[in-house]
Symmetry: C2
Subunit: 172 residues, 2 copies
Amino acid sequence: MADAAPGSSTTSRVVLLILRVFSFVLLLISLIVLAVNSGTMESDVGTLKIHFNDVYAYRYMLAAIVIGFAYSLMQLAFSVFRLLMANGCLGGDCGVLLDFYGDKVVSYVLATGAAAGFGVTTDLKRVFEIAGLDFGDKFYQMANASASLLFLAFVCTAICSVLSSYALPKKF
Amino acid sequence: MADAAPGSSTTSRVVLLILRVFSFVLLLISLIVLAVNSGTMESDVGTLKIHFNDVYAYRYMLAAIVIGFAYSLMQLAFSVFRLLMANGCLGGDCGVLLDFYGDKVVSYVLATGAAAGFGVTTDLKRVFEIAGLDFGDKFYQMANASASLLFLAFVCTAICSVLSSYALPKKF
């Protein structure tokens, strides 16, 4: 973005900032929904309880959300800084590369987190039903809600990744 | 890649071609390993059999492999064509955009396929053990092997995606 036309550069910075704010908010809600998710069932041996961290795939989902959240927060700070300082120290090639590789890697992390969450929820519900374990639909619905929010945050980051790719200097 | 220096452009085309060949071979092996994966166990009610398509996450994995395979095949044909024809009709802006968006979307598909596969295998094994279902370790090992190959194919496609991003025309 450093050596681009000022008008379109500022527009793209505003679009990026809006997308990063969206991503940040979505990840925050996703984190809360996942963290409070638990289910209980009454059995012959007493009350059985399941918490999101009993499922490894949800733990990975949590890790993906936290990584995405930290990255969004950092990029949000950078974006505001760049928007205020037209030729700031974060607007050079280093900043462009940070945007490009950061958005790319974090969008993969978010996509895989959502995929792991969706994948395990569907099959876990079926296997638990076969095994006679019924923790209620709310547990799976909240896990899916969290994964959906994570997926939306991934979409925002993937769009950021496309925008930051166009800002790359041509090498070949 | 159309208006780049000829030397580095040819090098990048060769690197892309090698990566696409790797990706194609990895996806082919991953497809075979997943498709033949099944497990059996003896129970009081007779022989129980599980096949990869009984698990929804593995079905998604199969879909991801097939999409990646078809894309690799198409790109392989284009890459050979471009390598032979220095200024062919697939070397213009249209080809660059096809590379960029194609690599980006397919790399996300492959990453999510591998994540869904890894995620479900770990938790499914634990829940099956709790439910007293033992289909043998081979079933999970082969599923993980297929997901690992899919992950390696994703890495190749992600590198292609980085290379094709550098070839994009600058827009802002």
